[in-house]
C-alpha cells in the first residue's frame, strides 16, 4: 500500500446526485430523531400538566364550603349542640316527616355545625334565644351535590299549562302538549339499562350451568345430586331474570299512554310548581302521579312557562344524595339561603373522620416538628462529615469506604430506612411511636447523604488560595476551615440542605413504618407527642372511602407543594445571590 495507490480525490462524488439523494434521507433521519425528542418532552410535559391540573381542579373545590342559613333555638347554657342542629332543622322544614325523611334532613347538616356553635360558646360569642339567625355547615354529601358531583339538575321549560288534582297524599298532574313525553323516554332508557343488567346476570347463570355440567361426569352419588340441584337452581334464577327482563321489554315497547311506574333505579323527575316541589312516581305522555317533597302553596292550575320539569339523570339508588335532600337544597338555593364561603377552617382544624371538618393543622405542625428534628441532626452532622472528608481525612481505604457508603446510602430505598427506624429507634431505643422525634431521626439519616454530598461539593469549590492565605498568616488547619472555608461554602451547603429537607418533607414510606400513619386528631405539642405529617395525611385521606376526601387530599397536596415550591425558591435565590465564580 503506497501513497501512489491512493486515487485522486473524486471531487464530484459529494455533489453527485446519488450523494444528494442520500443526504436527503440522512436529513430526514435527523428530523425524525429531533421529532422523537420533542415527542418525549411533550409526553413529560403532558404528564406534568395532567398531574398539576388534577390537583388544582380538585383543590379549587376544597377552597370553599357551603353553609345553610336558618334560625336556631339556643338555650343560654346549651350543651348538646347536635340536638340544637336537629331541632332547628325540624323547625325550619316542618313538612319533612317520617323516619327516613328526618334522617335525610339531618343528613344535610355536618357535625361541624355543632362544633362551630360550641366554639362560639367557648369564645363567648354565641347568641342565644328562640330564633337566632345561624349558619350551619352542610354535610359532605350536600356539599358534593352543590358542586354538581352527582350530576346537574336538568331543566325543561314547558309551554303548555298544567292542572293539579289532589288525590289523597298524591297529586295527579295533567300537562298539555304531551309535556312528559321526554320523561317517559328517559324512564324507558332506565328500564332498558335495567333489562340489560338482568340479562347479564342471567348470562352469568348460564355460564355457571355450563361449568357445572362439564364437571358433572366426574362426580357420582350425593355430590352429583347436589350438583344437579345447583344446576336446577341456576336454571330457575336464569328463567326468573329473563322473565323480568322480558316484562321490562314489554313496558318499554308499550305506548306512551300507559302509565309507567318510576323506581329509584331510573332518573328522578321533579316538577317545580306553585312554590313547591313534586316528585313523579308514575308517568305517561300527558299525565303523571306525584308526591310532594316540598309542599305547594296551592293546587291551582298554572299556565305554560310557570312550571318546570327537572331531571336528575343519575338514579337515586346510585347516589348518596337522596331526592328529598335534593328538593330541600334546591328550595334553599332558590331562597338564597345557601352561602358559599372560603374554607379557612381547613388550616385551623386537624384530621377527622368527617371530610367537611377535616383540616391539616395537625399534620402541618407535625411536619414542622419533624423537620426541626431532621434539620438539627442532618445539618450539623452532614456539614461536619463533609468537612472531615474534604479537609482532614487521609486518603486511605477507610475513607474510600465511607465515600462509597455515602453514595450508596443516597440510593437505598426509603422504606428500608423506615425498617431501620422501626428496629433501632422504636424497638431498641424506645423512642415513642409515631412521634416527630422518631420520624425526624429516620428522615435525618435519609437526608444525611444529600447534605454531605452537597456540602462536600461546596467546600471543594472554595479555591485553595483562600486556605493558603489563612495558613500563611499562621492560622491552624481547624481555624482555616472554620473561619475561612466554611463561611464561603455556607451558601452552597445551605442550598443543598434545603433541597434535602424538601425531599424529606415529601417523604412518606419510612414514616408509615414507624407508625405515623395512625389516626391522630390532636395537634402535637412537642417532638414526643403522637403526630402525623403532611404527606402521610395525604396518604390517609387518599385511602379514605368518602368521596369528599378527594378534594381535601388534593388541597393537602397543594399545601405540601406550596411548601416545596417555597423551599426550592429559597434554595434558588440563595444560589443566585451568593453564587461566586472564582
Amino acid at each position: 500500500m503506497t501513497e501512489a495507490a491512493t486515487p485522486p480525490p473524486d471531487a464530484s462524488f459529494h455533489s453527485s446526485e446519488e450523494a444528494v439523494a442520500r443526504l436527503k434521507k440522512r436529513r430526514s433521519a435527523e428530523t425524525r430523531l429531533k421529532l422523537y425528542g420533542m415527542i418525549a418532552i411533550g409526553l413529560a410535559a403532558l404528564a406534568l400538566v395532567a398531574l398539576l391540573w388534577n390537583i388544582v381542579a380538585r383543590t379549587m373545590n376544597a377552597a370553599t364550603e357551603h353553609y345553610i342559613a336558618i334560625e336556631a333555638q339556643i338555650e343560654p347554657d346549651e350543651d348538646d349542640f347536635l340536638k340544637v342542629v336537629k331541632k332547628s332543622a325540624r323547625a325550619s322544614f316542618p313538612y319533612v316527616s317520617g323516619r327516613t325523611g328526618k334522617r335525610e334532613l339531618y343528613g344535610l347538616f355536618s357535625d361541624g355545625a355543632a362544633d362551630d356553635m360550641r366554639r362560639a360558646q367557648e369564645a363567648g360569642t354565641l347568641e342565644t334565644g328562640e330564633a337566632v339567625p345561624m349558619r350551619f355547615l352542610v354535610s359532605d354529601t350536600a356539599d358534593l351535590y352543590m358542586r354538581g358531583e352527582f350530576g346537574a339538575l336538568e331543566s325543561q321549560e314547558s309551554a303548555g299549562g298544567l292542572t293539579i288534582t289532589e288525590d289523597g297524599k298524591k297529586f295527579v298532574l295533567r300537562a298539555q302538549d304531551k309535556a312528559f313525553i321526554d320523561a317517559v323516554g328517559r324512564a324507558k332508557a332506565g328500564l332498558a339499562r335495567e333489562a340489560d343488567s338482568l340479562r347479564q346476570q342471567a348470562a352469568r347463570q348460564i355460564a355457571g350451568i355450563t361449568v357445572q355440567q362439564a364437571r358433572l361426569d366426574s362426580v357420582t352419588g350425593l355430590e352429583r345430586e347436589d350438583m344437579l340441584a345447583q344446576i336446577d337452581g341456576f336454571r330457575k334464577t336464569r328463567d326468573r331474570l329473563e322473565g323480568q327482563a322480558s316484562a321490562l321489554d314489554a313496558l318499554i315497547t308499550g305506548s306512551g299512554d300507559t302509565r309507567l311506574e318510576l323506581t329509584d333505579r331510573m332518573a328522578s323527575f321533579f316538577v317545580m310548581v306553585n312554590g313547591g316541589i313534586l316528585k313523579l312516581t308514575e308517568v305517561s305522555a300527558d299525565t303523571a302521579l306525584a308526591v310532594p317533597l316540598v309542599p305547594l302553596d296551592s293546587a291551582d292550575p298554572v299556565a305554560g312557562g310557570a312550571w318546570t320539569l327537572r331531571i336528575l339523570d343519575r338514579p337515586e339508588v346510585g347516589r348518596p344524595v337522596k331526592d328529598q335532600q335534593v328538593a330541600i337544597l334546591e328550595t334553599l338555593q332558590r331562597e338564597g339561603r345557601i352561602e358559599e364561603v372560603a374554607n379557612w377552617k381547613f388550616f385551623s382544624l386537624s384530621d377527622s373522620t368527617q371530610p367537611e371538618i377535616a383540616g391539616i393543622k395537625g399534620a402541618l405542625i407535625g411536619s414542622l416538628w419533624t423537620m426541626l428534628v431532621t434539620f438539627s441532626l442532618a445539618f450539623p452532622i452532614g456539614v461536619m462529615a463533609a468537612i472531615y472528608l474534604e479537609e482532614f481525612a487521609p486518603k486511605n481505604r477507610f475513607t474510600d469506604f465511607i465515600e462509597v457508603n455515602i453514595n450508596n446510602l443516597a440510593a437505598v430505598p426509603s422504606i428500608v430506612f423506615g425498617l431501620l427506624g422501626l428496629a433501632v429507634f422504636l424497638n431498641f431505643f424506645g423512642v415513642p411511636r409515631s412521634s416527630p422525634l422518631a420520624g425526624g431521626l429516620v428522615l435525618a439519616l435519609m437526608t444525611l447523604p444529600t447534605v454531605i454530598i452537597a456540602a462536600r461539593a461546596a467546600i471543594r469549590a472554595v479555591p485553595p488560595s483562600i486556605r493558603w492565605a489563612a495558613m500563611g498568616i499562621g492560622a491552624s488547619k481547624t481555624q482555616t476551615v472554620f473561619h475561612h472555608v466554611l463561611p464561603l461554602a455556607m451558601p452552597g451547603i445551605l442550598t443543598g440542605t434545603i433541597i434535602g429537607m424538601a425531599q424529606a418533607l415529601g417523604e412518606t414510606a419510612p414514616l408509615l413504618m414507624i407508625g405515623m400513619v395512625a389516626f391522630i386528631t390532636a395537634v402535637p405539642e412537642g417532638i414526643t407527642d403522637s403526630a402525623t405529617v403532611l404527606p402521610v395525611q395525604v396518604f390517609n385521606w387518599a385511602n379514605a372511602s368518602e368521596r369528599a376526601f378527594d378534594m381535601r387530599t388534593a388541597a393537602a397536596i397543594a399545601v405540601l407543594l406550596a411548601f416545596l415550591v417555597v423551599m426550592n425558591a429559597i434554595a434558588i435565590i440563595l444560589r443566585k445571590r451568593f453564587e461566586r465564580r472564582w
Partner: protein, 453 residues
C-alpha cells in the same frame, strides 16, 4: 428523665465554658499574649470535654442497659416456650408497663411488666446520675488544667477533629444499622421458615396460616411479589427510558438555550414532586382512565392494574433518567462532536455513532439507578397497585410488590412480632437487590469518569 439529664449535661458544659474562659482571662491579666492559647479555647476545651463525657455515658449507657434489660426480661420467662411466644410475652409485658394495650394478658406478662417497670426506672435514674456525675468530673478536671502554658487550642482542635471523623462515620454506622437490624429479624425468620420456601415458593399469604405465632411455611413464597415488582418495574422502565433518553438527547444536542431554560426546570419540577402525590395521581386519575379506556376497547382492566402503577412510576423516573443522561451526554467532549461534524456527519449520525456509544456506560448507570428506584419505590404501588399476591404477567391485572407487602405487614393490625419476620425478610431482600444495582451503577459511572475526566 434522660432528656433532663442531657439538658443538665449541656448546661454544665456551657457553665464550664464561661468559668474556664474567665479563669484564662484572669491568668493572662494585662498581657494576654503570654497564654499559649486564647481564653476562648480554654473555655471551648472544657465545654466540649464536659459535654462529650456526659453524652457518651448517656448514649452508650442507654445501649448497654437496653441490651441488659432485654436479657433480664427473657431470662425471667418460664422455660419451654417457643421463640415467637417469648417475643410476644415480652412485647406485651413492655406494652403493659407503658400503660398500653397488650394482645393478651396473663401472669407471665404481668411479671414481665413489673420487672420491666422496675428495671427501666433503675435505668433512668442510674443513667441520669452517671452521666451528670461524669460530666461534672470532667468539668472539674478541665477547670484545674487551665494554665498559661496549657495547649488548650491543640487539644480542642484534636477533639473537634475526632468529632468530625465520628460524624463521617455515622454514614457507615447507618449502613451497619440497616444491615444489622434487617439481618437480625431476617435470620430469626429463616430459622423457622426455610429460605428455599421464601425465595421459590409461589404462594404468598403469610398471615393466613398463623398458629401461635408460627407461620405456615407453604404460604410464605415471595415469588408472586418478585414477579409483581418485576412487572411494574419493567413497565416503568419502558415508559421512563425512551422518554427520558430522547428528552436528554433533544436537550443536549437539539434544543436552543431558550428551550433548555424552559424544559430543564419542568423536568426538575417533575423530579421534586413527592411520590405520595404520584400515588394519588395514579390511583385517582390514571387507573380509572385506563380502566375506562380498556372497557371502551373491550378489555377488562383491573382498577389496581400493574399498568397504572407502572406508567406513573415511569413518569416519576423520567426526570431521573433524563437529567443523569443529559449530564453524561454533555460530558462527552466537544472535540468528539467536532470530529464527527468535521467529517460531514449529521447530528443524528453523530449522536447515534459517536455520542451514545461514548455515553453508554453513563446512560446504563442512570438506567440501573432508575431500576433500583423503581424496585424500592413504595408509595405509588401502595396506593395504586393491588394487595393480593397474584402471579401473572398480564399488565392489566392487579399485582402486588415487595414494598406493598412490607407496608401491609407493618401497618396491618397483626401482632408486630409476627408480622416483623416476613416484613424484615422482604426488606432485606429489597436492600440486597437495590444494593447490587447501586454498586453496579456506581462502578459504571466511575469507569465513565475515568475515561473523560
Amino acid at each position: 428523665m434522660l432528656s433532663w439529664a442531657a439538658l443538665l449535661v449541656c448546661a454544665l458544659a456551657v457553665a464550664g465554658f464561661f468559668v474556664a474562659k474567665g479563669r484564662a482571662v484572669a491568668l493572662g491579666g494585662d498581657t494576654p499574649a503570654i497564654l499559649h492559647s486564647r481564653p476562648v479555647y480554654h473555655g471551648g476545651f472544657v465545654a466540649i470535654r464536659t459535654a462529650l463525657a456526659g453524652l457518651c455515658v448517656l448514649i452508650f449507657g442507654l445501649i448497654l442497659s437496653n441490651i441488659a434489660i432485654r436479657w433480664a426480661l427473657y431470662s425471667g420467662l418460664p422455660a419451654g416456650l417457643s421463640g415467637i411466644e417469648r417475643d410476644l410475652i415480652v412485647s406485651d409485658g413492655v406494652a403493659l408497663a407503658g400503660g398500653n394495650l397488650a394482645s393478651r394478658s396473663g401472669e407471665a406478662r404481668d411479671v414481665v411488666a413489673a420487672l420491666y417497670a422496675r428495671l427501666s426506672m433503675i435505668q433512668g435514674w442510674g443513667l441520669a446520675l452517671a452521666s451528670v456525675g461524669v460530666a461534672g468530673f470532667a468539668l472539674m478536671r478541665g477547670l484545674r488544667q487551665v494554665s498559661i502554658p496549657f495547649r488548650a487550642r491543640s487539644r480542642f482542635e484534636r477533639i473537634v477533629q475526632i468529632v468530625l471523623a465520628i460524624s463521617a462515620g455515622i454514614a457507615v454506622l447507618t449502613t451497619i444499622g440497616i444491615v444489622a437490624s434487617l439481618l437480625g429479624q431476617t435470620l430469626v425468620f429463616f430459622s423457622e421458615i426455610p429460605v428455599w420456601n421464601f425465595l421459590f415458593g409461589t404462594l404468598w399469604s403469610p398471615l393466613s396460616g398463623v398458629h401461635d405465632g408460627a407461620m405456615d411455611p407453604g404460604k410464605v413464597g415471595a415469588v408472586p411479589l418478585f414477579a409483581g415488582t418485576l412487572l411494574i418495574t419493567v413497565i416503568a422502565m419502558l415508559v421512563a427510558v425512551p422518554v427520558g433518553l430522547f428528552s436528554a438527547i433533544y436537550l443536549s444536542d437539539f434544543a436552543s438555550a431558550r428551550a433548555r431554560s424552559i424544559i430543564k426546570p419542568m423536568l426538575e419540577i417533575l423530579a421534586g414532586i413527592p411520590t405520595v402525590v404520584y400515588g394519588f395521581f395514579a390511583a385517582i386519575t390514571v387507573a380509572p382512565f385506563l380502566r375506562d379506556t380498556g372497557a371502551a376497547m373491550g378489555l377488562s382492566v383491573s382498577s389496581e392494574s400493574a399498568l397504572a402503577a407502572g406508567v406513573v412510576m415511569g413518569i416519576m423516573i423520567i426526570p431521573f433518567i433524563s437529567s443523569l443522561s443529559d449530564d453524561v451526554i454533555n460530558a462527552v467532549p466537544q472535540s468528539l462532536r467536532d470530529g464527527s461534524y468535521g467529517l460531514g456527519a449529521t447530528k443524528a449520525e453523530t449522536i447515534r455513532n459517536v455520542i451514545l456509544p461514548a455515553a453508554l456506560p453513563g446512560i446504563m448507570s442512570a438506567v440501573l439507578l432508575g431500576v433500583s428506584r423503581a424496585i424500592g419505590e413504595t408509595m405509588i404501588v401502595v396506593m395504586a397497585a393491588g394487595q393480593g399476591a397474584n402471579l401473572t404477567a398480564n399488565p392489566l391485572e392487579a399485582v402486588t410488590t415487595v414494598t406493598v407487602q412490607i407496608v401491609a405487614l407493618i401497618t396491618g393490625d397483626t401482632e408486630a412480632s409476627t408480622a416483623a419476620g416476613p416484613a424484615f425478610a422482604l426488606g432485606f431482600t429489597l436492600f440486597c437487590i437495590t444494593l447490587i444495582f447501586n454498586i453496579w451503577a456506581l462502578r459504571l459511572v466511575r469507569k465513565y469518569r475515568e475515561v473523560y475526566d
